[in-house]
């Protein structure tokens, strides 16, 4: 079974909840945790891990056009076909903007001089760590300046499958784009985390379009619910109206969480009240999943 924790908005508590749920599930099942936030992976920190990985592996998920200036006659056919505005001719010299190149290879095919070659790029590294709670964490880091987050997420999901666990917990990145779609694709259940602010609520509904596109059953968690009780009520009412979306629970705002994470102390190892609230969410989640 695969559960993805998503939210649309960043900083609402996805990784915090994902780490705690993975630890709770691991008490009864064989778990693998996947940090799908390959841009800015933080799940290991919530699990109390400093960056000492058991295994680090560089990967290449895409290619990029490389120009052989000796062969190029600046005919401009590649510039015409490139729909990503990655190529241009400046002072009769062909220039490529690497940040815009999607690696589609159209330029290579149309070049009459064979002056463009697609070359694989090392975009990221995959990191694996078996933690003190007895389950492996699969994480990845997109190298700064590189692109291809979605394909990297596909890759770490494949890696995670190799562990043949009963439960995969995926921590999605923020947003609704390719890595989020890659994380949610093929998941059995989505835990959608939000906060009672207009931004949090708006982004929750935006990520829901992806969840509904894949017809994934979901539940909602309201984090920091007590910073605006009125907005919390609004979200609760809305969640009730959704046919498949039921509220899984609420977590109160607690400044002490800053101290806990500053010491890399997993939430479940603290005495904070939110520990209980997360336990309730976990119990409800198990019931929803008939476990």
């Amino acid at each position: 079974m695969k559960i993805t924790i998503a939210s649309g908005k960043g900083g609402v508590g996805k990784s915090m909840l994902a780490s705690a749920l993975a630890m709770l599930f691991a008490q009864k099942q064989k778990v693998v945790a996947v940090d799908a936030d390959v841009d800015a992976p933080n799940l290991h920190l919530w699990l109390g891990e400093k960056e000492k990985w058991d295994k680090v592996e560089k990967i290449s998920v895409s290619e990029r056009a490389v120009i052989d200036q000796k062969k190029c006659t600046s005919c401009g056919r590649c510039v015409d076909i490139c729909t990503f505005d990655a190529l241009s001719i400046n002072n009769s010299k062909l220039i490529i903007n690497n940040y815009f190149c999607e690696g589609c290879g159209a330029c290579e095919v149309v070049c009459p001089e064979k002056a463009i070659k697609m070359k694989p790029i090392k975009n990221a590294e995959i990191r694996i760590k078996k933690n003190v709670y007895g389950f492996p964490l699969i994480s990845a880091q997109l190298y700064p300046g590189e692109t291809g987050s979605g394909k990297i997420v596909d890759e770490i999901k494949r890696k995670a499958e190799e562990f043949k666990s009963e439960m995969m917990i995926l921590d999605s990145p923020a947003g609704t784009g390719c890595p989020v779609i890659a994380a949610l694709n093929g998941t059995d259940f989505a835990v959608l985390v939000t906060e009672p602010t207009p931004s949090g609520f708006s982004d929750l509904k935006r990520v829901l379009t992806i969840v509904e596109h894949f017809k994934i059953p979901y539940g909602v968690v309201i984090n920091k619910y007590d910073i605006n009780l009125e907005e919390t009520k609004k979200i609760e009412k809305w969640a009730l109206r959704q046919a498949r979306g039921k509220l899984l629970g609420k977590i109160g705002y607690d400044q002490r969480i800053f101290q806990a994470i500053a010491q890399l102390k997993p939430i479940l190892e603290t005495d904070l009240p939110l520990k209980k609230e997360i336990q309730i969410i976990y119990d409800r989640l198990r019931r929803r999943l008939s476990l």
Partner: protein, 274 residues
């Protein structure tokens, strides 16, 4: 015109809040400011500014192939050349185009020897413009539905904002980026004269700050740090990183109940910045 990016790597550190505080501060000096919300997947600046997104001023399209079965000879050229594995062709049958995998690069319709592939345009994003207050414009990009590649929406939104800024003779163009450091963030930052990296005093904030500072270095954009909720957590982690990377902490915003409360209502408290 000065182009300033506001980014941070980690989510929820206060990019939007800082962008708006900055815009307000700058416009108060009688200089026109255009703020462009480049978080096209989850734009929130308009909510914090009490604006609504009504009539779009611009639309962003993506292209997809569509088969003309009368012309198709099932020759397989499109299937063979697609690098995204977006063309599936069962033996002896018509090719099928898989939208979810298609990058819209156009190679298939360009190469088709029978002109059997037509181009279908699909709207993937919208661009909005709001005049917020005196000397303050907001441009917002927003993706529509399930969009894999949101980068082009960011570029088109920024292009629109740049044109507007030139037209009204704006003094500042502020780009509020999304979280992370993927193509959408890079596109939002490209061309900036300066970028503020907004972070929080936790190992999470510092971890992602280090990454975004590395990205800014690669993009050759000078960076400064803004430390939000500065008195919570452990400030030293960020200070150490600032020292190691020789990046200035331009401003520290202390934690404020009022700010959190107002933010939760979709408003901003008055905070003096920079």
């Amino acid at each position: 015109m000065k182009k300033i990016g506001v980014t941070g790597g980690k989510g929820g550190t206060g990019k939007s809040t800082v962008s708006i505080l900055l815009a307000n501060k700058l416009r108060a000096k009688e200089k026109k400011v255009v703020l462009v919300d480049c978080d096209v997947e989850c734009p929130n600046d308009y909510l914090l500014l009490g604006q609504t997104l009504e009539k779009p001023k611009g639309k962003v399209f993506a292209q997809f192939p569509k088969l003309d079965k009368e012309k198709c000879q099932k020759c397989g050229v499109c299937t063979k050349n697609c690098r995204s594995n977006a063309v599936f062709q069962p033996l002896g049958q018509y090719p099928i185009f898989i939208h979810e995998l298609c990058s819209g690069c156009g190679l298939c319709w360009h190469l088709c020897p029978h002109q059997a592939i037509k181009v279908e345009k699909k709207i993937i994003g919208e661009i909005f413009e709001n005049k917020v207050e005196d000397n303050f414009w907001l441009v917002t990009g927003r993706s529509i539905g399930v969009v894999d590649e949101t980068g082009p929406i960011v570029t088109k939104t920024k292009d629109y904002a740049l044109k507007l800024a030139k037209k009204i003779k704006a003094y500042y163009l502020l780009s509020d980026t999304s979280v992370g450091m993927h193509c959408g963030v890079i596109r939002a930052l490209l061309g900036s004269d300066l970028a503020y990296a907004v972070t929080e005093p936790t190992p999470l904030g510092a971890h992602d700050l280090e990454l975004i500072l590395r990205l800014l270095k690669i993009l050759k954009i000078p960076a400064k740090i803004i430390l939000n909720q500065a008195d919570l957590g452990k400030k030293e982690i960020v200070k150490r990183l600032a020292g190691e990377t020789k990046t200035k902490i331009a401003h520290e915003i202390p934690y404020s109940n009022e700010l959190v409360k107002k933010y939760s209502l979709g408003k901003l408290a008055e905070v003096n910045i920079l």
